[in-house]
C-alpha cells in the first residue's frame, strides 16, 4: 500500500515538475518583461471555469429530453460559453501579455530594378519570334474558340432558345375552374367583395399559367376593354394571378370599405404593390407593373360551374423581350 502511495506521489511530482526548466540563460529579451498579475490570472481561471460550465450545460440540455425550450437553453449555454471565453481572452490580452508598441517599416512601394528585369526577361524570351502580333492574334483566336467550346455544354442547362414555353398555358375553352382542393367552382359560389383562387382542372398548378384570381363585380360597374363582351358572366371576372411585374401571386383584394377614400376595388400584389382594376380589364392603377393582368374569358356550364371560354387575353407572367409579340397558346 505504502509502495503504491509513494509511486503516486512520485508521479504527481514528476507531472507537476515536468515543465520546470533550469533557470533561463541570460539573453536579450524580445518581448518586454511585465509585472505578474495574480488577480488577473485568477479572473482568467474563473472565466475558463465558467466557459467549461456553460459547455457542460450545453451537453446536458442536449442530452436531457425533458428540459423545455431546448433551442433557447442550447443557444444560451453555447453563447455564454463563447462569451466567457471571449472575456478570458480579452483579460489575457489586456493584463497578462506584454503590451508593446512596435514600429515597422512599410514595405517598399515598388522594386524598379526587379520590374525592369522582369520586363527584360519577358521581352528577350520572345526574341526568336518574328511575327509576334500575328502569333498573338492566332493564340487569342485559338483561346477564344477553345473557351467557346468549353462553355457550350452550359447550354444543356435549359432550352435557351425556345420561347414557346413562355406563351403556353393550360387553359382551353371548356376547362373547368377548380379550387385548391380540386373542387369545381360554381358561379353561385362566387360572392362579391372577396376573391377566389382557381386552377385549371387536371393540370399542373405549379406553373405560371395556371392560377387565376376570380372576383364578382356588379355588372353595371364593369367597363372591360372592347372585344371582351361576354367574358364576365354574372359580373364574374377571372385574371391570371401572376403579377405582370415580378411574378408574385396577386394575393390581396382591396374592396371598397371606404368609398370615396378608396375609389374602387383593386387587385394588389403584395411584393411591390402593383394595383390592378378588375372592373377595367385589370389595367394598372398604381405601382410598377407595366402590363395589365391577362384576362381569362369565362362561361357558365350546364351545371352552373365556371369554365374557361378560351385562353388568356395576353401572355402570363413577368415581361421580357418578346412578351408583347404573341398571344398565349
Amino acid at each position: 500500500m505504502s509502495a503504491l502511495w509513494r509511486w503516486i506521489v512520485a508521479a504527481i511530482v514528476l507531472l507537476l515538475g515536468r515543465g520546470r526548466r533550469p533557470p533561463p540563460i541570460e539573453r536579450e529579451r524580445i518581448v518586454p518583461a511585465g509585472e505578474p498579475s495574480p488577480r488577473a490570472e485568477l479572473l482568467v481561471l474563473a472565466l475558463f471555469g465558467a466557459t467549461a460550465a456553460c459547455s457542460i450545460a450545453f451537453v446536458v440540455v442536449y442530452a436531457v429530453e425533458s428540459i423545455p425550450h431546448q433551442t433557447q437553453f442550447l443557444g444560451l449555454s453555447l453563447g455564454l460559453a463563447f462569451a466567457f471565453l471571449a472575456a478570458a481572452l480579452i483579460v489575457i490580452a489586456e493584463r497578462l501579455v506584454a503590451t508593446e508598441e512596435l514600429e515597422e517599416d512599410y514595405p517598399v512601394p515598388a522594386h524598379p530594378a526587379e520590374q525592369e528585369t522582369l520586363e527584360q526577361l519577358v521581352e528577350e524570351s520572345g526574341d526568336r519570334m518574328t511575327r509576334k502580333r500575328l502569333l498573338l492574334l492566332g493564340g487569342g483566336a485559338a483561346g477564344a474558340a477553345l473557351g467557346a467550346a468549353l462553355v457550350t455544354p452550359a447550354l444543356s442547362l435549359g432550352p435557351a432558345f425556345e420561347i414557346a414555353p413562355f406563351f403556353r398555358t393550360p387553359w382551353r375553352r371548356g376547362v373547368r375552374l377548380v379550387d385548391e382542393r380540386g373542387r369545381p367552382i360554381h358561379a353561385d359560389d362566387v360572392l362579391e367583395e372577396t376573391f377566389y383562387t382557381a386552377y385549371p382542372e387536371g393540370a399542373d398548378r405549379e406553373e405560371l399559367g395556371s392560377p387565376l384570381v376570380v372576383v364578382r363585380l356588379r355588372p353595371a360597374d364593369l367597363h372591360l376593354p372592347a372585344g371582351r363582351g361576354g367574358w364576365a358572366p354574372h359580373g364574374i371576372v377571372a385574371y391570371s394571378k401572376i403579377c405582370t411585374h415580378a411574378g408574385c401571386a396577386v394575393a390581396l383584394y382591396r374592396k371598397p370599405t371606404f368609398p370615396g377614400v378608396e375609389p374602387r376595388p383593386a387587385l394588389v400584389c403584395p411584393c411591390h404593390y402593383s394595383t390592378f382594376d378588375p372592373a377595367r380589364g385589370a389595367k394598372v392603377l398604381f405601382g410598377p407593373a407595366g402590363r395589365p393582368l391577362p384576362q381569362l374569358p369565362l362561361l357558365v356550364g350546364p351545371d352552373g360551374e365556371l369554365r374557361a371560354a378560351g385562353n388568356f387575353s395576353g401572355p402570363v407572367g413577368p415581361a421580357w423581350w418578346g412578351v408583347r409579340n404573341r398571344r398565349p397558346s
Binding site: 443557444g75 515597422e104 398548378r205 405560371l208 394571378k241 411574378g247 410598377p288 413577368p318
Partner: protein
Amino acid sequence: MIRRTVRFLDERSGAAPFLRKALRYVFPDHWSFLLGEVALYAFIVLVGTGIYLTLFFDPSTATTYYDGQYQPLHGSEMTQAYRSVVDISFKVKAGLLIRQTHHWAADVFVVAIVLHLLRIFFTGAFRKPRDLTYYIGLSMLGLALLEGYLGYSLADDLLSGMGLAIGYSVLMSVPIVGANLAELIWGGPFPGTHAFWSRMYVAHVFLFPMLIATLLGAHLALVAARHHTQFRGRRKTERKVVGVPTFPGQTPRSLGLMSAVTAVLFLLGGLVQINPIWLWGPYHVGSGTNGAQPDWYLGWLIGALRLVPGFDLTIGNYTLVPNPFWGGALFPLVVFGVLFTFPALERRFTGDHAFHNLLDRPRDAPWRTAIGAALFTWIAFVFLAGSADRVFVTFFVSYGWQILFFRIAIWVVPLAVLVVTRRVCLELQGSDRVEHERELAEEEARRAASLEPVR
C-alpha cells in the same frame, strides 16, 4: 515543448524566418479596424453551421405531404426541400439553433462587410497600393449578397418562393437575352425543373463559398503584403507603421473578438427567432402573403423595385426594358459600378497617383466624403422606401403618398447631403487650421516668455 514544436515545424517546412516575421507583424490599433475581422469570423461561423445544415437538408422538389410533429402544417402539400427545413427546425436536436445561428450569421456577415466598406471608403483606405484589395472586397460583398439570397431561397417557404419569382423576373427583364438566361438557369419557365434546386444547392454550399473563401485568402494576403493603413499620429508616418505585434499582443484580442462574435451569433440563434418558415408555409406559384420583406441586405432592391413607376420600355411589339430591370438590375449595377470605379475616378480628378499608407479623416477629402455620403444616402432612402408598406400598416401613413415622397426624396436628399457634407468638411478643416495656429502662437508665446530676461 515549445522548442520541440518549433524545431519540428522548421525542419519540415523551413518556415521559421517567415513565422518570426509573421508573429511580429504590426497591427495599428483603431477600433474601426475590427469590422473586417467581424466579417471574417461571421464567415467562419457560417461555414461551420452551414456544414451541419447540409447533413440534414434535402435539395429536392419532390412533392410530399407533411405528417410531422408541427400540427398546423399537417396534410400540407410541400416539397422535400421545405419539409427537410421544417424537420431541421423541429425534429433535429439543436437543428433550429444551428439554422437560426446560420441565418443570423449571414445577416451579421453582410452588416460587418458594409460597415467595413464604409470605413474603407471614408478614410481613403482604397487608394494605391490597396485598390486591388478594395476591388476584391467589393466582389466579396456582391457574392455575399447573392449567397445569402440563394441560402434563404433554398428553404422553399412561401416568402423565399416569392423572392425567387422576383429574382426570375429581374433576370427575365435583362434586355433582349433575359428570357434565354432565365430559361438556362431555371431549366425552363418559372418555377423551373427539378434540376434547378440542385443548381441552387451546389451554388450555395460549394461554388459561392469557395469563391468567397478564395477571394478572402487573396484579400488577406494583399493586406499583409502591403501592411495595414493607419491614422496619422505620433511616429505614425507614410514610412513607418506603429502598433501591436501579432504575437503576443494581437492574438488574444483577435481570438477574443472571434469568441465574442460567435457568442453573439449563438445567443441570437438561440434566443431571437428569425425566419420561422413554418409560419410562412410552403410556396406555391399561386400563393402569396402580405408583408413580404426579404433579409435586410436585399431591402434596397425591393425598395428600388417598388419605387419605379409602372411602365415597360417598348419598341413596337418588342419590350426593350421590362420594368424590374431598373430597380432590380440597373440600380445595384450603378451602385457597384460607382464603388468599383471610384478609386480610378478619384485618381483622375485629384491627380493624386501617390502611394498612401496614412488614412484620411473624412474631412481631409471633402469631395470624396460628400460623394460617399450622397451615394449611401441614396441607397439608404431607397432602402427606406422598401419599408413603406410596414410604415403604412404600423402608422397608417398612406402608402401612395410615401412612394411619391420617396420618388422625389431619393434624388433631392442625396444632393442636399452632398452640398451640406462638403460644407461641413470645409468648416471642420477651417477649425482645424484655427486650432493649429492657436497652438503655434501659444508655443511661440511660451518660447518668448522663457527667453525674456529675468528682472
